[in-house]
């Protein structure tokens, strides 16, 4: 590794996720190792067009009566991730509270649509009866910060609390903000990550853009035809790196803007490349140090084409890459944190995840896309790309130390 980095690495002392693979990191790991799609037809509500989704099927935990006003599918999915006992996230937060004090722990959660699912039902009632239902609480259920605030109250934390909402890069950016809050000395620990849940707006919205695949999505495939939407909560606890233990590290997050179009990426992938090179610079590493890249790879024609160009330009064709949205679906505002966790699992268990749904790699794709998972005993540093509407890009870089 070279020179000094321009941001202090922070420790990732616990993490957990709930998504269509199941509850907890082990369920996700199992699906990754099997390269098994967990996409199904939608059960949550009726849809007038065919597609597959990454839907959470297990019953979600109830919000406690004291926080009833925060009741939303989004908050419940986040609560489920907090409660996975084997992943120890809640216990690690309690330990951090006694170590640093609750004032020193922030909560920064990325989301694209927060609790809009409940609002959609409220509008159906509103249009019929000309008034919102009595249990409609816009601020505590639907406002962008609702899930972050719910987690803060649930955990009795007192530090800064806010939502980042930059579409599909939201939770990667939330992780970036978490690192900055610690590196600038404002917080000692930050619960960061994202939560986004299935709703009509995103399904109908991506349909209107003609980006929804009727079949299982095929990231980086020559015949790819669009996305499958998923839902997830993915939470990471970031802490000052005290170096007493050897937890995985968040090295840096590179961020950039396309400055090109609201929903189409820059045709030359300039913004995507800038996020990756920016991340490398902040982390103080070179492209050759990256052992694995989790691609954004949504499986739309243009996104995958542009990303593969940008990856080739920054990382060349030797870094193994894969896109995992064929397993989980595209979890939108939660994708950055979910795929950061996938990168952490790849480092912890020393394997390169595959690209479920990929049959024949697109001709124009010059980066090294891995179809099936492969063991690899030399993984130290992994990167995860997330690109959102508004041309908003982020590349998260994490590492493990095996010594």
């Amino acid at each position: 590794m070279k020179q000094s980095s321009s941001i202090e690495p922070v420790a990732i002392t616990a993490y957990s996720t709930v998504n269509s693979c199941g509850f907890g990191n082990d369920a996700l790991l199992k699906a990754l190792l099997a390269n098994q799609s967990t996409l199904t037809t939608l059960k949550l509500f009726e849809l007038p067009f065919p597609t597959y989704v990454g839907e959470i099927k297990k019953p979600l935990p109830e919000i406690s009566p004291a926080l009833e006003r925060y009741q939303s599918r989004n908050a419940r999915v986040a609560l489920a991730a907090l409660n996975v006992a084997e992943d120890g996230l809640r216990a690690a937060i309690e330990a951090a509270k006694s170590r640093y004090g609750k004032q020193r722990i922030g909560v920064v959660i990325g989301t694209s649509t927060s609790g809009i699912y409940e609002t959609e039902s409220a509008y159906a009632a509103f249009l019929e009866h000309h008034k919102m239902p009595d249990d409609f609480h816009f601020i505590t259920r639907h406002a962008y910060q609702a899930t972050a605030r719910f987690l803060q109250l649930e955990l009795d934390l007192k530090g800064p609390c806010y939502a980042i909402s930059t579409a599909c890069s939201s939770s990667a950016k939330a992780i970036a903000t978490g690192q900055r809050l610690i590196a600038s000395g404002v917080c000692d620990a930050v619960l960061a990550g994202g939560a986004d849940t299935l709703c009509r707006l995103t399904l109908y919205g991506f349909k209107s853009l003609e980006l929804i695949a009727a079949q299982h999505c095929q990231p980086m495939d020559k015949d790819r035809s669009g996305i499958n939407i998923g839902e997830a909560a993915a939470l990471v606890l970031l802490e000052k790196n005290t170096a007493h233990t050897r937890p995985p590290l968040l090295l840096a997050v590179g961020e950039s803007s396309d400055a090109h179009h609201m929903s189409s990426p820059h045709p030359d992938g300039l913004g995507a490349a800038l996020a990756m090179t920016g991340g490398l610079q902040l982390a103080g590493i070179d492209a050759v140090h990256v052992d694995y890249l989790n691609l954004h790879a949504t499986a739309t024609k243009i996104n995958d084409q542009v990303e593969s160009q940008a990856v080739y330009r920054v990382l060349g064709d030797q870094v193994p890459c894969s896109g995992t949205k064929g397993i989980t679906g595209h979890t939108l505002g939660a994708a950055g944190a979910l795929e950061t966790i996938i990168a952490l699992l790849a480092l912890k268990y020393q394997f390169i995840p595959g690209t479920a749904g990929l049959q024949q790699t697109a001709d124009e794709c010059r980066c090294q896309v891995i179809k099936n998972p492969v063991p690899n005993q030399s993984l130290s540093i992994a990167m995860s790309n997330s690109f959102g509407f508004g041309g908003n890009n982020a590349s998260v870089i994490v590492s493990v130390n095996h010594e």
Binding site: S4, S5, S6, E8, P48, Q103, S112, I116, E120, Y123, A124, L127, K131, M132, F138, I139, A143, Y144, Q145, R149, K158, P160, C161, Y162, A163, I164, S165, T166, A167, K173, T177, R180, A183, S184, G185, V186, R200, L201, Y204, G205, F206, S208, L209, N241, T242, A243, E255, S256, S257, A259, H261, M262, L270, G271, L274, G278, G388, F389, G390, G391
Partner: protein
């Protein structure tokens, strides 16, 4: 790498270089001596303009005003966009359409994201620097200032903070959104030519009553939480403690002119 190689405790001072307020109904600011801009839709080229909401025009007007005052290069300027509801009118229109099973407009859909204004600002200024979009209900302005402050600590230079909320349908969360209000600040680690300095926002005990007019204005215009700081920038000399939100734990910054 040892953590001690980073100067964690030595924070860099942050200076205000420009500011602007956009408020289409300046009557709501009666009693304050604050210059306000009217929404200037011509700042957005015609080809993009018909796609933009009042929210975006409001925020872009304030952002442009602050950057003009600071005489700053906007092509490399990182920015933080802070808003409680963002594109609330677009979201409302889409939510009204969803139960009808009518197809959505693709433009309306991509313009419903919280970072819509942030995205248009980047396109208008051909700026590839990082931009973020945050939300924190009553603490939106305070957290926006905190986010900008921490970004400057780690990347010295300039940053733009824009805080805004437009008119809201009154069946969502009344009285929020009865007044449209946007403000923008250009902040920098560079002292020369600055208007004032501010310190890291922190929660502190409230020592005296908060101004009643301000409290009631913030209830209908969340971004007006910025008014005590704006008032200090335009009207104060010396140093004072400035509240940044009105409810729950109160965040403060210390403001000082030279």
């Amino acid at each position: 790498m040892p953590a001690s190689s980073f100067p964690l405790t030595m924070s860099k001072p942050v200076f205000i270089h420009g500011t602007a307020i956009c408020c289409p109904e300046p009557l709501s600011l009666d009693g304050y001596h604050l210059p306000t801009l009217e929404v200037d839709k011509t700042l957005i080229p015609v080809v993009l303009r018909r796609r933009t909401s009042l929210t975006t025009r409001l925020a872009v007007t304030a952002a442009h005003g602050a950057c003009q005052q600071a005489r700053i290069d906007t092509t490399t300027l990182p920015s933080v966009f802070a808003s409680l509801g963002g594109e609330i009118q677009v979201t409302d229109a889409l939510c009204r359409l969803l139960p009808t099973n009518e197809p959505l407009s693709p433009t309306q859909f991509h313009n419903s994201v919280h970072n819509t204004t942030a995205g248009y600002w980047g396109i208008l200024n051909q700026c590839q620097a990082p931009v973020t979009a945050i939300a924190a209900v009553d603490d939106t302005f305070a957290m926006g200032l905190l986010e900008a402050w921490t970004q400057l600590q780690l990347k010295p230079g300039n940053i733009l903070l824009v805080c805004y909320d437009e008119l809201w349908p009154q069946y969502l969360a009344p009285p929020i959104g009865q007044t449209a209000f946007a403000c923008a600040l250009v902040l920098s680690t560079e002292k020369s030519n600055s208007l004032a300095s501010i310190t890291l926002p922190k929660v502190e005990p409230v020592k005296s009553c908060l101004d009643e007019q301000w409290l009631s204005l913030v209830d209908s215009a969340p971004a007006a939480a910025s008014i005590p700081l704006l008032d200090a920038i335009y009207n104060a000399r010396g140093s004072r403690r400035i509240p940044l939100n009105t409810k729950g734990d109160i965040w403060f910054t210390y403001f000082e002119t030279f």
